[in-house]
């Protein structure tokens, strides 16, 4: 055993000095061993490389139907795009029954029987066989078909027309007429103008996130001629079309930070004009505006001038952040007649925004644009980045039998021990979860002003402003209040809450209260 062990050490020297004293024959054996190991290592590396490329990335694919749209996750395997078979069929119609075996799947779609086999390009549709561009895959038990299934097989399964342009991530099924657009960039005196000419009317909503501007184009399906437009321009670097979440939108990337966007629709909605301008030199902030303590670090994305309203010249207007609670899969409360809190508060926020912009005394930033899930941190970050003058978050819920009713909340910690001693000087750095402490008094004042204004509305029940540990207010670096509107509960219909005139009254009062609190008269 001892000699064997020594021989092994000679054949596989561990140290450099060992190699140097090797006899020629021993060195040859060492090289021979290496020549075996190296290809194996290369093979393993290649396998790992190929393995990673099989699931390199995933994306979304949008199915546009005459009355609906569906977003289906897209998988990229070996450079080919794949879609889940059952999701496709359930989007277009309904899978009646299916029979799954280890390497084959048989399913019934209406009167049609479809059979696929794993790693086989052939698809059997009733008695005919069709060839796909790539083999059917079955990773993690999910049956995936190449995207050309949409043009090869799908037209045989439905009587509707299927329009799919190869390379894109969207398909139009049935009587869907997508609009398209062209883009032109012009230089202006202190910026650049992007002109987007659409083939039909669009609507527009704006948002800003991560230093980019989002121009949502409404509900019409859009099929762009080009997905991305790159510009060699000092103001705008890229215009990208995106509908990965089912919402067609243009994403405008500024070439540098500190620019302002002024979007507007023209020609009845067929032309979108997006002016990207250098802001005028900022004069000192008015004394009334609270200076936030949270450091932003990165260049601040310029807020979209919502709705394309021209902003008056002069000192920068204070920013009001409006937060429509919930969103996406978090629907919040719901009424007996199916009104969801997320939709109701989004409507009210849109009206408050319009009222504030009409007064031309505030700039408005929305934390949530569209029906998306947002974390509290995302909302707070979006608000704090804009150094807001005030923050209003809107909720709807069960406020008892007296309806309509409004309660305004400011933040109160669950335990007095957590409260900040106002007599102490403000610390240089404030913990994220203690930011509310800095604005407690102002938040209470704002809540009081709002409550007084709401109390003047006829037919509306209001309570004294309340203090509660509302999570959405905790880390906002501004005077912040939550406005809860009720009653929205499964036991009753939403009633007045959905009435546009009621919502507009609420919006007008909120805007007036903000102006009163600032010291003006709206």
């Amino acid at each position: 055993m001892a000699s064997g062990s020594c021989k092994k050490l000679d054949r596989f020297p561990r140290r450099e000095s060992d190699k140097q004293v090797d006899a020629p024959g021993q060195t040859f054996r060492h090289v021979t061993r290496l020549s075996r190991v190296l290809p194996a290592a290369c093979f393993c590396g290649l396998v790992l490389l190929l393995w990673s490329s099989r699931t390199l990335r995933s994306d979304n694919f949008v199915f546009y139907l005459p009355t609906a749209r569906s977003v289906i996750p897209l998988e990229t395997i070996d450079g080919n795009k794949y879609l889940p078979l059952i999701s496709i069929l359930n989007t277009v119609g309904k899978v009646g029954a299916l029979q799954e075996k280890r390497d084959s799947l048989k399913l019934w779609f209406g009167e049609t029987q479809i059979e696929v086999r794993a790693d086989d390009k052939k698809v059997r549709v009733n008695k005919s066989r069709l060839d796909l561009a790539g083999p059917v895959r079955r990773p993690k038990g999910q049956w995936l078909v190449p995207v050309d299934f949409l043009t090869t097989v799908l037209p045989r399964l439905t009587s509707e027309t299927v329009e799919y342009q190869t390379g894109t991530n969207r398909v139009f099924i049935g009587d869907v007429r997508p609009i398209s657009f062209t883009v032109r960039l012009d230089r202006t005196a202190n910026g650049a103008r992007v002109t987007v000419q659409f083939t039909d009317k669009v609507t527009m909503r704006t948002a800003a996130s991560n230093g980019k501007w989002y121009l949502f184009l409404g509900g019409r399906p859009v099929e762009p001629l080009e997905q991305v437009f790159h510009f060699q321009d000092p103001y705008i670097s890229e215009l990208r079309f995106d509908d990965q979440d089912g919402a067609p939108k243009l994403i405008l990337t500024p070439a540098t930070g500190g620019l302002d966007l002024y979007p507007a629709l023209a020609e009845g909605g067929k032309v979108l004009l997006a002016d990207v301008l250098k802001p005028p030199p900022a004069p000192p902030q008015p004394a009334a505006v609270e200076q936030p303590m949270v450091a932003t670090g990165s260049p601040q994305p310029a807020p979209a001038a919502a709705g394309g309203e021209e902003l008056p010249a002069g000192p920068p207007l204070p920013v009001v952040v409006l937060d429509a609670a919930h969103g996406g899969t978090d629907v919040g409360a719901r009424s007996r007649d199916g009104v969801l809190e997320k939709d109701l508060v989004a409507q009210i926020v849109a009206r408050v925004r319009a009222s504030l912009l009409a007064a031309r005394k505030f700039r408005v930033v929305l934390t949530r644009v569209g029906d998306v899930n947002l974390t509290f941190e995302q909302r707070e970050t979006a608000a704090n980045l804009h150094r807001p003058y005030a923050f209003l978050t809107f909720h709807a819920g069960n406020l008892g039998v007296r309806t309509p009713r409004i309660v305004v909340y400011s933040y109160q910690a669950g335990s007095p021990a957590e409260l900040h001693d106002n007599s102490e000087p403000r610390p240089l750095l404030v913990l994220w979860n203690k930011v509310y402490e800095v604005h407690l008094d102002q938040s209470r004042q704002l809540a009081r002003v709002l409550q007084q204004k709401f109390a003047a509305l006829p037919g509306l029940t209001t309570d004294e402003p309340q203090e509660a540990p509302v999570r959405g207010l905790r880390s906002v670096d501004a005077p912040a209040v939550a406005i809860e509107i009720g009653t929205l509960t499964p036991e009753a219909d939403a009633g007045t809450l959905t009435d546009p005139s009621f919502q507009q009254q609420i919006a007008n009062v909120a805007a007036a209260a903000l102006d009163t609190w600032r010291g003006g008269t709206l």
Binding site: E341, G397, N398, G400, V401, G414, P469, V470, R474, L488
Partner: protein, 200 residues
């Protein structure tokens, strides 16, 4: 193949067949096992179990605070409870009584499928309550309602257990932002008598 090998193979086959049959029976049992009874029954069963497991003493009047969502307030309800000896068991008893629901028609703060996963009482008087995610799924939504839910628990515990000074709520053993999107439960809660309404 020798006779001995054949016998061995036969025995192995019989064992394998018996195992497969037993597995099939087990699968059937698992498939047809009811997941849960009605919520009311589950809550009452758990309450009874807790009472049986604890060393119950003589019954005493407990003060519970149930939400009245319609009136946006907490309502007091007295109920006899045979208190256990340990404070953590008493905390469980209060929580189970809240889950069981009001006998006077007030609302239930936590839905009946709620499980109390763990309860700790720290020497400084902090009660840590670890409840299941089932507690958050069916909660009434809204700031006012969620406040009532939290303070229903906190005020009820403080009213019956002098050792409980403040309460920390965990869900599935983790600290969470909110129970259902509104009230910040990352911190501690002390009782808030202002949320209790007396009289009719």
């Amino acid at each position: 193949m020798s006779p001995r090998t054949k016998i061995l193979m036969l025995v192995l086959l019989v064992i394998l067949a018996a195992g497969a049959l037993y597995l099939h029976v087990l699968t059937q049992r698992v498939s047809f096992q009811p997941i849960a009874g009605s919520g009311e029954e589950v809550a009452r069963t758990r309450l009874s179990e807790a009472a049986l497991q604890s060393t119950a003493g003589p019954e005493q009047m407990a003060t519970l605070y149930f939400p009245s969502f319609e009136q946006s307030t907490l309502r007091e309800e007295k109920r006899p409870i045979a208190w256990a000896e340990a404070d953590t068991d008493r905390i469980r008893q209060v929580l189970l009584a809240l889950i069981e629901g009001s006998h006077q028609g007030y609302s239930r703060p936590l839905p009946t499928p709620t499980l109390i996963r763990a309860v700790f009482l720290a020497p400084d008087g902090t009660a840590f309550l670890d409840i299941s995610t089932l507690a958050t799924g069916d909660l009434n939504s809204g700031i006012a309602d969620e406040c009532l839910v939290v303070y229903s628990i906190v005020n009820s515990l403080a009213a019956n257990l002098p050792a409980v000074k403040r309460v920390k709520i965990l869900v599935q053993g983790q600290e969470v932002d909110t129970l259902n999107g509104h009230v910040d439960v990352t911190g501690f809660f002390v009782p808030d008598p202002a949320r209790i309404s007396v009289g009719p």
